[in-house]
């Protein structure tokens, strides 16, 4: 345990401007379909700020867990189109964290190349089963 806790733990007030930024981008997305992302890791946020933002945005209808080179969590906040994306790296540390304003975050789409690989794998399996059967 730390004897001295130097972690910045107080609310810095960054969330107020962050929320209005999100609102602006969401408005734009609703009108024009222009997606946007806000990188949370590069902002001078304290842990308390992060919790506070999470609470204020809330949870919506979608919650996804990904098992891709470590864990990732994605959820739609209580505001449709506003997604919270959290990637974990080694030692379960947060490696990247961002807000996406988009209909579906990119990483959830199956990539053409992955689909191609999957298709050939699947047909191979079927062939083999026929062979054995």
């Amino acid at each position: 345990m730390n004897l001295i806790d130097n972690t910045p733990s107080a609310l810095t007030g960054v969330n107020d401007s962050l929320l209005s930024e999100i609102a602006d981008r969401l408005g734009e997305f609703a009108q024009t379909g222009q997606s946007a992302s806000i990188d949370l890791r590069s902002l001078p946020m304290s842990d308390a700020d992060r919790e506070d933002l999470k609470e204020r945005l809330g949870h919506g209808e979608v919650m996804v867990k990904l098992d891709v080179a470590g864990l990732s969590e994605i959820w739609e906040t209580s505001f449709a189109g506003v997604w919270w994306i959290r990637h974990f790296g080694g030692d379960d540390q947060i490696a990247a964290e961002e807000i996406n304003i988009v209909s579906v975050p990119d990483i959830l789409h199956a990539h053409q190349a992955d689909a191609r690989a999957a298709a050939s794998r699947l047909s191979k399996i079927i062939q083999e089963e026929r062979h054995h059967g």
Partner: protein
């Protein structure tokens, strides 16, 4: 060996999906403040890139930089870099040794002529023709010259390779210098730090791989994405600095309250690095957060700036003795000019009398 396959195809065979690419590049793009559009482009480019041949030369160093580079233990996101590059020579990490190791270096140089990247950690001693440090019977100086000749680019990782670092600290007995003082006709990127932040190394290499060009560099050849920020400007203790609240020692009230470390020698105001934003060990903490001032390790000459605990406004040379000497000399000069004045007056008075 030249890889015929793209990284995408290669990793696909191992069950690593494009999602992993995207996650990896999201993480790097965030560390470089590039945004998610760039992350997507990076992922696509990376998937269609070939595996990059890397020759890693370790000279006068402590292996701290390699440690930092290979820091994570479990197979994770951060380790994907080792799938993207082919570390064809690294005398600390490779299994082969002696002749076989040198052979591997020569093969890689031949087969990837003009395309391989040379990573250097450690400074290069230049005195006595480089005799202070040799590997397999040849001096670091020679090995650098020989290996860099057909390289596409050179990345100097760590302050030693970038500027000479600790081996070059006064009086620099081995005549240690950094890579860019010796190599003048190649693209060089410096990723200083003692050690450098792992993301700065992997991020820069991945950037080159996916965009096929060097990232934007500052006047000290450092990638701006990682070295564009001043520690002091990004430091969470800054409000204390502005209010004049300073820790006076490492165990006083101020230190306990997390006040600014300027008075105990913090070099944050003259240091450019990503410590205050990316932090260390996957974002856990960084020196200032742990209660110690910044040493300025990503700056040239950080070892010789008058001491780690000497505050920035303090002169770095001894003033007391020189000032005392000057005072004595000044007093002597004063007495002399007064005596000259008296003599002049006397003779003037005599003249006036006669």
């Amino acid at each position: 060996m030249a890889e015929p396959k793209t990284l995408g195809q290669m990793l696909e065979a191992r069950g690593i999906s494009r999602r992993a690419f995207l996650k990896y590049t999201s993480y790097l793009a965030s560390s470089m403040a590039l945004g998610s559009v760039a992350a997507k482009a990076m992922a696509e480019n990376l998937a269609s890139a070939r595996r990059q041949s890397v020759i890693w030369l370790s000279f006068q160093e402590c292996t701290g930089c390699t440690e930092s580079f290979t820091r994570s233990v479990s197979p994770t996101l951060e380790e994907l870099i080792f799938d993207f590059i082919s570390l064809d020579y690294h005398h600390t990490l490779q299994a082969a040794s002696g002749e076989a190791a040198e052979e591997a270096r020569h093969i890689a140089m031949r087969e990837n002529k003009g395309k391989y990247v040379v990573v250097v950690d450690g400074s290069i001693p230049t005195k006595l023709d480089g005799a202070y440090s040799t590997i397999a019977g040849i001096s670091n100086l020679q090995m650098l010259e020989e290996t860099v000749k057909d390289a596409a680019a050179v990345i100097a990782v760590g302050t030693c390779a970038a500027y000479g670092g600790i081996p070059a600290a006064a009086p620099n007995p081995t005549g240690a210098v950094g890579v860019d003082q010796l190599v003048t006709d190649k693209a060089i990127i410096n990723i200083p730090g003692c050690p450098p932040i792992p993301e700065a190394m992997t991020g820069t290499i991945s950037y080159i791989l996916s965009f096929g060009k060097l990232p934007e560099l500052d006047h000290l050849k450092r990638p701006i994405a990682y070295f564009g920020d001043n520690i002091h400007d990004r430091c969470y203790r800054r409000p204390f600095y502005e209010r004049g609240l300073f820790a006076k020692s490492f165990d006083d009230e101020g230190a306990r309250k997390g006040w600014c470390l300027y008075e105990v020698g913090c070099k944050g105001p003259i240091t450019y690095n990503a410590c205050a934003t990316l932090k260390w060990n996957g974002g856990i903490s960084f020196p200032i957060q742990s209660g110690h001032g910044c040493l300025g390790c990503s700056e040239p000459n950080f070892w010789d700036k008058g001491g780690f605990y000497k505050p920035l406004p303090a002169p770095i040379r001894d003033i007391g003795k020189v000032a005392a000497g000057a005072a004595v000399a000044g007093a002597a000069a004063g007495v002399v000019s007064a005596a000259v004045g008296r003599a002049k007056k006397k003779s003037a008075m005599k003249e006036g009398k006669s």
